[in-house]
């Protein structure tokens, strides 16, 4: 039997081999090839070795073997013998770690019993643990933890012997990992053991760690945070009510600490204790706690973290004292006594509701009221008469308002406790304490909202918020009262002039009410709002602006049934308005309203979308197209529908609805639309009376089309944009259609039409290059266009607008194919970079990068376009080096083209992509600050802003030239419009803080001095930025905290 020796030899240099050895031995024991007793005996010599480590290693071998044994492998007797053997070894302190490990393995054995547990715990408690390293202490604690888990009854039976032994053992422990175990063991003792005789020592063991001030070292391998320790310690402190007498005085004393985190910890611990010690214990401490904690609320202003914690503590006490109470508490009950004290003090402070401590007092009341239904009832009953009296006596509106703010807090608490209409939670048994005051409150609040002067905005806002809260409280208001509130809100939201804030709130209130009482909104609000809409643009009454009404309608119509009503009503209105010979504004606003609601994704099913198509798309199509083919006077009024601004909204409606149609429906839609727009075939979408005429005379894609018909192209574009790319456009040659549109796009002088064509081209090139050969034909079209650009760039010729248009079209095609990863796209991109050096077409090429990288509304994922990820990054890495190189070689007339291209790229690429390249780009950026074009400048400043914030290191060598140029940009009003001046100031402002102070100090004087003139800028916004910027630079030399 060589094993012990082999193990001892290997354990340091080859732990894997060592554990293989012990594993092997364990197997031999289980297979009965080796007797455990023999193994123990074989250790004999080593256990008396003079070398401490050898002794420890020998025990380590045994422990390791035990660890590998099956829990059932050892007999009752073997367990007893080994336990005794190992406990004896505990006297040899050198092997404490190994011995404990062995005991830990042993106690997992199924035959390890109560006696062994008592033996082991008694022995281990005698060890002088704190002189051992933390790793050893950890193993010992793990052993006790194991015993606590598996042999808890044995430990309990040991009673005080174990408790005192354990507390002595762990006293003075400081290691966070070990403390985590200590705290969890102590918690079990506190909760389950008979501790009445040992409160003092247990309290001392636990409380000496409070408050935790531990900061984990940066390389902490165990990842234990101060918060972990705080939680465990707090659980211990809160786990037994016997601590109350000791813990509360100590905690209250610690509230005087100046450390914010200590105070927070104290308050959270008080809350935890208050929630767990039980009503009897808490009742003896409640007054004392209230007296201590209230200052944390009363002496701070809003949104203070400590105030919030203190409020939780105050509430927690009330919650525990409410325990078991079902009805209003008698005056002698602990809850009543506790709350009465609070109420008395708070009411005193509320006598002057505008003073600083009034609001905190109100918060204390309302927070305590959320403790339970009984607490709420008690507080409302005891405070409401007094509060109403203060309100009645207040001669000053501001005072009334301040008091109503307090009432609103109580309403909020009532809402929390009693819930809102239609809640699924059970109703409170107690009756709502506010019921008694409903009439009075309704009167006061209605009066404040509707009866005060318009100027009293904040009073009215407070009243409005209160009324909405009251409406929402379950079963408080009657239906007719809520109806009245709805009417008030209608009136307020239709008010003319005044601040937008109250209208917003009124609408929000209506929305809130529509969730609980939708019928009231449909019956009261809708008719009221519709009645506000004039029938014709000519009648528009400045006191009844239709936009505000439409806006309000839109915001309320997100619910499914409400939207259906809105759709019907607005389409009728549209007809009326058109018949009244309207300009484009009003019809456009009506359609925009529908669009707004659809964009907000009202709840709708596939069936709904089909209905929207039938009710919205088809009629609008007819209304738009028929008047372009029928000169009769009946359609004259509808001709305004081909106004560009209306066409655009109609198109968007088409797009958003068609997009959500199913695949099959889209196929049908695509055929019909192509029949109408391209093929001239009668369609069922056009009423029978006009189907033939439209088929014959509606030719939007012909060179000869008049402006109205050509304008309708945008409808086709928007519609095709919404189709899935799998929808085959039958009966069409896509390249031919593209060619046709290319010609139309280059020839038309009307920009809206040109855009309709180029977007259409881009869509086709992106989504529908399907047939073999399509791509080749597209390449040919593109190459031809590019050819004519390159032919005219030789330099002698003048700029030719037609050629410019062709180049623009090329860029749109390139964009469409580059985003789907077409290699040819990159080829053209490279040629376009080459064009930047051209005097005539370079500027167009530069702007073209905004097309290539920018986002448009047509080529998007939502429109089922093919968009490969990382396209922008690809273009960035491909183009930027070429642009930098081209810029260096370029002469001064064409340099700006490169900068424009660069700024367009930078504006559209995520900053993470740009940052690594910054070093190379900065010189260019600096130069583009000298360009006169404000768009380039603004893009550059934006980039610099991000750069300075995110990678200040990149700019640190350029501070001098950067600050000089930015200062110039904000001081030179001739060249820089206000928004550039503001942007430059914003950029300059972030230097302090982002860049090391010592690098900035040399420029401080100059910046502050130069900005002095900007303080006199004619524009207020610029002055404001200058003030803020200056303040930052002023504060530079002040020592940082």
């Amino acid at each position: 039997m060589l094993s012990p020796r082999l193990y001892i030899l290997n354990v340091d240099k080859d732990p894997a081999e060592a554990s293989r050895i012990s594993k092997e031995s364990a197997k031999q024991i289980q297979d009965k090839e080796l007797k455990l007793l023999d193994l123990v005996q074989s250790l004999g010599g080593y256990l008396t070795d003079d070398d401490k480590t050898t002794r420890a290693k020998a025990i380590g071998y045994l422990s390791s073997v035990l660890g590998y044994l099956d829990p059932k492998a050892l007999s009752r007797q073997q367990v007893a013998v080994i336990a005794q053997f190992l406990c004896d070894r505990l006297e040899d302190e050198t092997g404490l770690k190994e011995t404990s490990r062995g005991l830990f393995a042993l106690q997992k054995s199924s035959r390890f019993g109560k006696e062994e547990a008592t033996l082991v715990s008694s022995a281990i408690c005698k060890v002088d643990l704190q002189k051992h390293p933390q790793g050893t202490r950890f193993v010992v604690l793990t052993l006790i933890d194991g015993l606590m888990a598996n042999q808890r009854d044995a430990l309990k039976a040991m009673g005080g012997k174990f408790i005192t032994g354990f507390t002595e053992l762990v006293g003075g422990e400081k290691d966070p990992r070990n403390l985590m175990i200590v705290f969890s063991i102590v918690k079990v003792i506190l909760v389950e053991f008979d501790i009445v005789q040992h409160i003092e020592i247990l309290f001392d063991v636990v409380y000496c760690y409070f408050p935790i001030t531990f900061k984990p070292p940066p390389d902490d391998p165990y990842g234990i945070t101060a918060q972990d320790l705080k939680f465990r310690l707090r659980e211990c402190i809160a786990s037994t009510k016997y601590f109350a007498g000791h813990v509360f005085p100590q905690l209250i004393e610690k509230l005087d600490s100046t450390s914010l985190s200590v105070k927070k910890d104290v308050l959270q611990t008080i809350t935890a204790c208050a929630l767990s010690y039980g009503p009897q214990t808490i009742s003896t401490h409640s007054t004392q706690l209230w007296d201590a904690v209230k200052f944390e609320v009363l002496n701070t202003t809003e949104e203070d973290e400590l105030a919030t914690e203190a409020l939780s503590a105050i509430r927690a006490i009330a919650e525990t004292l409410s325990f078991g109470l079902k009805s209003s508490p008698p005056a002698t009950s602990p809850l009543a006594r506790y709350l009465s004290g609070i109420i008395k003090e708070c009411l005193k402070l509320l006598q002057e509701p505008q003073q600083k401590q009034a609001k905190p007092a109100g918060k204390i009341l309302s927070k305590s009221a959320t403790a339970s239904a009984v607490a709420l009832s008690f507080i409302v009953e005891k405070t409401m008469p007094a509060l109403l009296l203060i309100h009645g006596d207040a001669d000053d509106l501001a005072k009334q308002r301040a008091l109503m703010e307090i009432l609103n807090l109580l309403f909020q608490s009532t809402l929390e406790i009693f819930g809102t209409w239609g809640d699924i939670t059970a109703e409170q048994v107690l009756s709502n304490p506010l019921t008694e005051y409903t009439d009075k409150l309704f009167e006061i609040y209605s009066q404040a909202l509707m009866g005060s002067s318009r100027e009293e905005m904040s009073l009215r806002i407070t009243a409005l918020k209160g009324l909405v809260l009251l409406c929402r409280i379950r079963k408080l208001f009657q239906e007719n009262e809520i109806g009245m509130v709805v009417q008030y809100l209608d009136q307020v939201s239709l008010e003319v002039g005044g601040k937008g804030e109250i209208k917003e709130l009124a609408l929000q209130g209506l929305k809130d009410i529509s969730k609980i009482k939708p019928n009231l909104i449909m019956d009261i609000t809708f008719p009221a709002f519709m009645a506000q809409l004039p029938d014709s643009e000519n009648e528009v009454n400045p006191s009844k602006p239709y936009t505000a009404t439409l806006e309000a309608l839109a915001k309320l119509s997100l619910g499914r049934s409400v939207f259906q009503v809105l759709l019907t009503r607005l389409l009728n209105k549209l007809d009326v308005v058109l018949r009244g010979k309207s300009g484009p504004m009003y019809p456009r606003a009506i359609l925009s309203t529908l669009l707004y609601v659809l964009q907000k994704k009202p709840e709708s099913s596939q069936e709904d979308v089909k209905t929207y198509f039938a009710r919205l798309v088809i009629p609008l199509l007819g209304k738009t197209i028929i008047p372009t083919t029928d000169d009769s006077s009946e359609f004259e009024d509808f001709r305004i529908m081909t106004d560009d601004s209306i066409l655009d909204v109609t198109g968007r409606l088409f797009n958003i609805i068609i997009r959500s149609l199913g695949f099959e429906e889209q196929i049908i839609v695509s055929r019909q639309l192509i029949d109408i727009f391209v093929l001239g075939i009668p369609s069922e979408y056009i009423p029978k009376t006009h189907a033939e005429i439209v088929a014959r005379d509606f030719k939007p894609l012909q060179q000869t089309a008049n402006k109205e018909q050509a304008g309708c192209t945008i409808l086709l574009t928007y519609a095709l944009a919404g189709l899935r790319r799998e929808v085959v456009l039958t009966a069409l040659s896509i390249p031919e259609l593209i060619q046709q549109n290319v010609e139309l796009a280059t020839r038309t002088s009307h920009s809206a039409q040109r855009m309709a064509h180029v977007y259409l081209i881009a869509l086709l090139a992106n989504k529908w290059m399907k047939k073999p050969g399509d791509s080749d034909l597209l390449q040919k079209i593109t190459a031809d266009l590019l050819e004519s650009v390159f032919n005219s760039m030789s330099g002698v010729q003048e700029y030719d607008n037609l050629v410019g248009q062709k180049l623009q079209t090329v860029l749109w095609i390139t964009k469409a194919i580059v985003v789907r990863g077409d290699r040819y796209g990159m080829e053209i991109t490279e040629r376009i970079v080459g064009l930047l050096g051209d005097k005539n077409y370079g500027p167009t090429a530069g702007k073209g990068f905004a097309v290539l990288l920018g986002d448009d509304e047509f080529i998007t994922k939502g429109n089922y376009a093919i968009i490969r990820p990382l396209t922008k990054q690809k273009i960035f890495t491909f183009c930027v080096p070429k642009i930098v190189e081209g810029f260096r070689a370029a002469d001064s007339t064409t340099k700006p083209n490169y900068l424009v291209a660069l700024s367009n790229i930078l504006r559209n690429v995520p900053s993470a992509v740009i940052l690594p390249e910054l070093g190379r780009l900065l010189p260019l950026l600096l130069q583009s600050l000298d360009l006169p074009d404000p768009n380039v400048k603004s893009a550059t400043i934006e980039t610099l802003l991000i750069t300075v914030t995110e990678s200040a290191d990149a700019v640190k060598e350029h501070i001098s030239s950067l600050s000089a140029r930015l200062l110039n940009a904000c001081m030179n009003r001739e060249e820089n419009p206000p928004r550039i001046r503001s942007a430059a100031l914003r950029c300059l402002r972030i230097f302090p803080g982002a860049v090391r102070t010592d690098l900035l100090l040399p420029y401080r004087r100059q910046v502050i001095r130069s900005l002095m003139t900007v303080l006199d800028d004619p524009k207020r916004n610029v002055r404001k930025e200058a003030v803020d910027c200056r303040a930052k630079w002023y504060s530079l030399d002040e020592p940082e905290d």
Binding site: N299, T301, L349, Q354, Q355, K356, A398, R401, A402, S458, G500, E501, T547, L550, E551, A554, K555, A589, S592, T593, Y596, Q599, D644, S645, D648, V649, R652, I714, S751, A752, M755, A756, Q808, T844, G848, A850, V851, G854, D856, E857, F858, N904, P934, N935, R973, P977, P978, M1012, T1013, L1015, D1016, P1018, K1019, R1020, N1021, R1023, V1027, R1030, A1031, Y1034
Partner: protein
């Protein structure tokens, strides 16, 4: 509680007169937002002026003079040294107690700010006054002269404080005092 008012009356921050909020909340009608027509989004057409905000704020010929409201906005957000509240909320600074005389024809313009301490023996009136002075000095162009004083009848030793506040040498030596400037720096930290 000597020279301190622990429970002063406070004004609701949203009730304070300010121009800032109005600007910040320049609401675009939701019906119009996101509705720049597709045809107006042509990157090749230089400035999209017609559909961006073509308002006055971009027109340099419309001069926006420095007025009382602007001064108020500059100093109302200074913190009180003893309460975590602003001078505006405590009504120490009031819009109608500010007077600006900004006549382009003269070289020098004037600002008069009258402060109302929360109680009439407020021990920190001088510090507050100093804070207001420092803020104005940093934020106004040099052609402005300012007079920061305690409003008559609102402070027991108002005259004395006024003398200190408007005595150039005393102000200058106060600005050398590091502790004092530390307090003032803290007060100005909340300036928006």
């Amino acid at each position: 509680m000597d020279g301190k008012n622990a429970n002063p009356t406070i004004l609701n921050a949203s009730d304070l007169p300010t121009r800032r909020q109005a600007q910040r909340k320049k609401v675009v009608s939701p019906l119009a937002s996101g509705l720049v027509p597709a045809y107006a989004q042509d990157p090749f057409v230089g400035n999209k002026v017609e559909f961006s905000d073509s308002d006055e704020s971009e027109d340099d010929s419309v001069v926006e003079p420095i007025d009382e409201q602007e001064i108020y906005d500059l100093i109302a957000t200074i913190s009180d040294p003893e309460h975590p509240l602003t001078l505006g909320e405590l009504a120490v600074v009031n819009l109608h107690h500010i007077k600006v005389t900004d006549d382009p024809s003269t070289i020098i313009s004037n600002v008069l700010v009258e402060l109302t301490p929360t109680i009439n023996h407020c021990s920190l009136a001088t510090v507050i006054g100093l804070g207001v002075r420092v803020r104005l000095e940093q934020a106004l162009p040099p052609r402005f002269r300012f007079d920061v004083r305690i409003r008559e009848g609102t402070h027991a030793t108002g005259d004395q404080v006024n003398k200190q506040l408007n005595d150039k040498e005393r102000v200058a030596s106060a600005l050398e005092n590091e502790t004092l400037m530390g307090v003032v720096g803290k007060m100005l930290e909340t300036c928006k």
